[in-house]
Symmetry: C2
Subunit: 226 residues, 2 copies
């Protein structure tokens, strides 16, 4: 396992691919996972096209998860439980699994953006309930616009609230510093993911009301040293 | 009723007093309400001291509510239902009642800041359930630091997410423009107060983790014209 590698499971989606591009651009080895190998390979090719010389490989999710100390789950919420179960035996104690999913309610047909209830409280806590013992689950990246991530020539301009066990939280906060314009915020215990995930629904509604296709971001003011 | 007046019920508390100071400084007549008349009068005196020439009066909550087209509820969450019931018969159709309460869980003893569940979904929706017919309830100002509001020489530096019925929402958004550094964000339907109230709990936890006594604020990035 390459200690500098970052795995992105579901890295073929808009937001996962955006993170892959950014981490590759920062010079980190990137492992893109997908349920289907050919889609992962295709996404890896896309990254290499945008970031010449990038160290990026496409693998099935389980193989990808086994290849990096930090694996970021970037699958639609409805595939979260299935993906974690599918990769669980490929994860080892000490690895960090990052949840960036949001339990959005779809097909309500009233134009509103709402959340569905998750028994454990949030997508991140659902992931924590299913992750193998010794694997630390951290919540991050929910509020970052896929569009802004993919526009490599611009800064992302968004704060990332990172919640979870302290040591693992710090490791994920350090990843944010790799992306220009992203700033990590110490979001405390994993349960705060309930709030951070909900903010995504608020932002999606704001994007519609303000007609901002690039995605509205969030910043915190008054932090020390900011 | 003075059409330019703004009533602040529970205007003797830190955040209510902060709003009273800011609106008075902007030249608007302010009516401070309290359960106890003498405390309201005392708070009104404080405002006049900080803002010479301010038009500000202290009254009991019911009398205060009847004196302004927009009344802001700035009472602790546990007094919300009681206050709305107490003033209900003093409100008239067409008035706007603003909820800025947050159902914070206290005395958990574990150092975490959490919310208690509200049957209606949020403090704002609880207020809406109890308000008389024809009175529009709007959610706003939850995330604004009392400390920053009271420091009249500094800008507040915070966005205010305003949710509720469209016409009433616009009237409350216009109030934000009276305070330097506050920016109103169209927060859509009242139900989004669930998210905005939760963000307050997140901010309180961040204030503790980052040791920011002035209170951390929130800004949205990428809005048109910003």
């Amino acid at each position: 396992m390459d200690e500098r590698a970052i795995a992105i499971l579901g890295g073929t989606g808009d937001q996962g691919l955006g993170l892959a591009l950014r981490f590759a651009k920062a010079g980190r080895p990137v492992v893109i996972g997908s349920r289907k190998l050919d889609r992962a390979v295709e996404a890896a090719d896309k990254v290499r096209e945008s970031v010449p010389g990038a160290s990026v490989v496409g693998l099935e999710n389980g193989d990808a998860a086994a290849r990096a100390p930090i694996a970021i789950l970037s699958v639609p919420f409805e595939h979260t439980a299935g993906t974690v179960k599918a990769i669980a035996e490929r994860l080892a104690p000490g690895q960090v699994l990052v949840s960036m999913g949001v339990p959005l309610a779809t097909a309500l047909g009233d134009g509103a953006t709402r959340l569905v209830g998750v028994w454990q409280g949030s997508c991140a806590e659902l992931v924590a309930a299913l992750a193998p013992q010794g694997v630390d689950v951290v919540s991050a990246f929910q509020n970052v616009s896929a569009h802004r991530l993919q526009e490599l020539e611009h800064e992302v301009e968004c704060d990332v609230v990172v919640s979870g066990p302290p040591a693992a939280r710090k490791r994920v906060m350090a990843l944010c510093a790799l992306v220009p314009g992203l700033r990590a915020i110490d979001g405390g215990p994993l349960g705060n993911a309930r709030i951070v995930e909900a903010v995504t629904a608020l932002l999606i509604g704001m994007n519609l009301r303000y007609k901002v296709s690039e995605g509205i971001g969030i910043r915190f003011t008054g932090l020390p040293g900011a």
